[in-house]
């Protein structure tokens, strides 16, 4: 946070009434940013209604934010504000259905290609897979953050990585949550091995361990994860 922003929060928590209005004024740009993005994607939406809705939500977010817990207000408030605006848009039924279908196609195409190719697909490959033009894919990707955040799971969680198996999206396993329960070395070894495809030898060189040691730690870490899953209710 910038110094003037921190000062506003300090004054607000000291009970200065004027500081609340100043915070609203400060973060009005956040409302404008998301309203502008949404209007571009949904031209039928009423700008003034959205601004009003956004300002009401902003008030609640300011009241609910505690800077003492660390983090920044916009990290906490930005996407929550956007979600509230989209909810309001859905209530007013101004979100065209065909847009949603197009976005869904692009996401499905990318996910399928990644699974099949085990690498990042190009735009052209996504377009071909989805049966859309390159321009349509570009527009869909561009609109995604603004228009369809519900596509990206676990919005209600602050977990660093929430993981489900891609082939079976309903069978959600919170590997990310469980990884956080392992010690740093185990987390690092699993990350390097599974996320980055490093070999045990490469990891060993990086950490100054020997290869067999890394392999043993990795196996133990996997077993520890299994145990954690089994301990979870319904695991």
């Amino acid at each position: 946070m910038k110094d003037d922003e921190l000062d506003l929060w300090k004054r607000y928590h000291e009970g200065e009434e004027k500081a609340f209005d100043e915070l609203l004024e400060y973060y009005k740009r956040l409302v404008r940013f998301w309203v502008k993005g949404i209007i571009v994607k949904s031209p039928r939406a009423d700008r003034d209604d959205l601004i009003q809705e956004g300002m009401i939500k902003l008030q609640k977010l300011i009241q609910g934010f505690d800077p003492g817990r660390g983090g920044e207000f916009i990290s906490y408030a930005g996407w929550r504000l956007r979600d509230a605006l989209l909810d309001s848009l859905k209530r007013s039924r101004n979100m065209p259905d065909y847009q949603y279908k197009k976005h869904r196609k692009v996401i499905n195409a990318q996910d399928a290609l990644i699974q099949r190719l085990r690498r990042a697909p190009t735009l052209a490959e996504i377009a071909q897979e989805a049966g859309l033009t390159l321009k349509q894919v570009e527009r869909a990707i561009d609109a995604m953050s603004v228009a369809f955040p519900e596509e990206f799971i676990a919005q209600d969680t602050d977990l660093p990585i929430s993981v489900r198996t891609v082939e079976n999206p309903d069978d959600r396993i919170l590997i990310g949550e469980l990884l956080l329960k392992l010690d740093e070395r185990k987390r690092l070894i699993l990350t390097e091995y599974y996320y980055w495809g490093c070999t045990d030898l490469e990891i060993a060189n990086q950490l100054g361990l020997n290869k067999d040691n890394v392999k043993r730690i990795r196996q133990r870490a996997t077993e520890a994860l299994l145990k954690l899953i089994e301990e979870k209710p319904g695991g």
Partner: protein, 194 residues
């Protein structure tokens, strides 16, 4: 659930889209090193999440202007690191105040001192080289500290050194104290951020 299912879930982990919470934390440098590396692995693959991240970066710029505002983590991290440096120096002094322990350490091994914070933000150690020169190394898993200047004083020797990136996960600074410049009183040491 079997061990193979866990392995499969781990293999698939990098293909799963990042949540808004993760993306904004990534943007604001609030993720720890390992979570950031996991996010990087996905971002390398996914055009959609890269674009979503850039929208969040635009959001930040819309609120704070062109530079996007300096995240508070930078200041907090420096303060954090400075505090750990103080603790490390205290530990050094306590350790080298006992001459017997110093002699034993020198006889026993080439690494004669080590201190590490629990979160790994600071690891400091001293190595006695075969030439009897002393190497003091200051490392951190917070690569955002890259480029920070440190002033190290050992007796009358004062050296400025810089934390430099040695891998994706570590920055390190080093000071060499030759045998001749090694002080008689090894507790006469200070390390601080410039």
């Amino acid at each position: 659930m079997k061990i193979d299912d866990v392995k499969k879930a781990l293999e698939n982990a990098k293909y799963v889209h990042l949540t808004d919470g993760v993306l904004t934390s990534y943007r604001d440098q609030l993720l720890d090193q390992i979570s950031r590396r996991q996010a990087d692995a996905h971002l390398k693959l996914c055009l959609i999440c890269v674009r979503r991240l850039s929208v969040f970066q635009e959001e930040r710029a819309a609120v704070y202007g062109g530079d996007g505002g300096k995240p508070s983590a930078g200041i907090a991290l420096r303060e954090h690191f400075a505090e750990y440096l103080r603790q490390a120096v205290e530990n050094w002094k306590a350790c080298f105040a006992q001459l017997r322990l110093v002699r034993e350490a020198i006889m026993r091994a080439d690494e004669i001192w080590r201190w590490q914070s629990e979160d790994g933000v600071l690891t400091a150690y001293a190595i006695l080289e075969p030439t009897a020169d002393l190497a003091i190394r200051i490392c951190s898993n917070e690569t955002d500290l890259e480029g920070e200047h440190l002033k190290v004083r050992v007796g009358s020797l004062i050296q400025e050194t810089i934390l430099q990136r040695v891998s994706d996960l570590e920055v390190r600074a080093e000071v060499m104290v030759s045998r001749r410049r090694r002080p008689r009183d090894m507790t006469d040491v200070s390390i601080e951020m410039v």
